[in-house]
């Protein structure tokens, strides 16, 4: 049975999308069948990374009940599979679609939760996928909480920014714990000097453990090369020898066993 993973954070700009994309590509590279979903309907991103603009159906249409999920899935295996399978389900980036999604009422959100929950049957059971990775909106948004309720595992991406740490702590007790989700923390964009020696690393790990009650699954250094890539390509595919790729491979193994 496959797993649904929701990648979430309290604040924006923590690196959810970058980590979701690289995690999905890493699983696909090791022979897994993966679907990556853009559930950030307020600020869609994956269409730009996978360079898909004019689609007939978007994830919005599936949630609206206009079509089934098979119409939405875009098979990008030829460009990114490398042994496994990689599908993407994209959020409509048009202003009209964003406006439409922000004006939905509670009843619609309830139906959307039902549509998301039924992906377990259509994608994990019928299509036999190994992973569904949901990239979400930051903070307490309907689409993000719907993804969290649907998921088996929640990965919370956090920076070392004080407001981000505070927000992540509050969401742990007021969101993830309430839905009894297996949740892991990914500390992203860590300044290199905190990890410069074994001693520094130990000190840093101790500091992080004091902050977060949840298990820390990855400590990801801030690499200028990743920033320079500017989301124009999937970093772990282009730079398999880079330490960032090693960190994502390690994270993928941890999430598999989590």
């Amino acid at each position: 049975m496959g797993k649904i993973i929701a990648v979430h954070s309290y604040k924006g700009g923590t690196g959810k999308t970058s980590l979701s994309v690289n995690l999905a590509a890493t699983y696909a590279r090791t022979g897994k069948k993966v679907c990556l979903m853009d559930l950030d309907f307020r600020a869609p991103s994956l269409h730009a990374i996978f360079k898909k603009q004019n689609l007939n159906y978007w994830l919005n249409d599936y949630l609206n009940g206009v079509c089934e999920i098979n119409k939405v899935l875009v098979d990008v295996t030829n460009d990114h599979g490398n042994g496994g399978k990689l599908f993407v389900a994209l959020a409509n980036p048009s202003t009209e679609a964003i406006r439409d999604m922000t004006a939905k009422d509670r009843k619609w959100e309830m139906k959307a939760l039902g549509r998301l929950l039924s992906l377990r049957s259509s994608l994990l059971n019928e299509m036999d996928l190994d992973y569904i990775i949901c990239d979400t909106s930051p903070g307490l948004q309907y689409s993000s909480i719907n993804a969290i309720v649907t998921a088996d595992v929640v990965l919370v991406v956090t920076s070392l920014d004080a407001s981000d740490i505070n927000g992540s702590q509050r969401m742990t007790s007021e969101l993830y714990d309430l839905f009894e989700k297996k949740t892991g923390i990914l500390v992203n964009k860590v300044i290199a000097e905190y990890l410069s020696s074994e001693k520094e690393q130990k000190k840093f790990n101790k500091y992080i453990k004091n902050i977060h009650t949840l298990p820390v699954l990855a400590t990801i250094p801030c690499f200028c090369e990743v920033l320079r890539a500017a989301g124009d390509f999937i970093f772990t595919e282009e730079r398999p020898e880079h330490p960032f790729t090693d960190t994502i491979v390690d994270l993928a193994a941890k999430v598999e066993k989590f």
């Binding site: 009422d105 509670r106 009843k107 959100e109 309830m110 139906k111 939760l113 039902g114 929950l117 309907y142 909480i145 719907n146 309720v149 007021e174 969101l175 309430l178 839905f179 009894e180």
Partner: protein
């Protein structure tokens, strides 16, 4: 021997009927308790409440667990919900009936079984 078996079958049937009736009675008492707690005026008649995620967050822990489980199962008996939550069937039956009274779920009898579901069309 045959007469004994017949008698045994009859008493099993009788006990089963008593159990069913007790369960029905239990459910009715649960509903009455809820009505007493909240008063009739708070029970939505024409406008069922939406069981969206923000509502799920606002529910007390014990009811949230039941409600999320039913959202996942779409339609289920108290017995099916209790298998997922690993709580007693009678406990789940009570919680499900509370959620029905609160307007978040609906209940429908099909033969001997009561099925609970989230009314998405309203």
């Amino acid at each position: 021997m045959a007469a004994y078996r017949k008698l045994e079958a009859k008493s099993t049937q009788l006990l089963e009927k008593i159990r069913e009736n007790l369960e029905l009675l239990n459910e009715k008492i649960d509903v009455m308790i809820e009505i007493q707690k909240h008063g009739n005026h708070e029970i939505p008649e024409n406008l069922p409440e939406a069981l969206d995620v923000m509502t799920l967050l606002s529910l007390p822990d014990h009811l949230r667990k039941t409600a999320v489980t039913l959202c996942k199962l779409e339609e289920a008996t108290a017995d099916e919900v209790s298998k997922q939550t690993k709580r007693a069937r009678a406990v789940e039956s009570g919680y499900l009936n509370q959620l029905v009274v609160m307007g978040y779920m609906k209940k429908e009898r099909k033969g001997r079984k009561a099925y609970f579901f989230v009314d998405k069309e309203g």
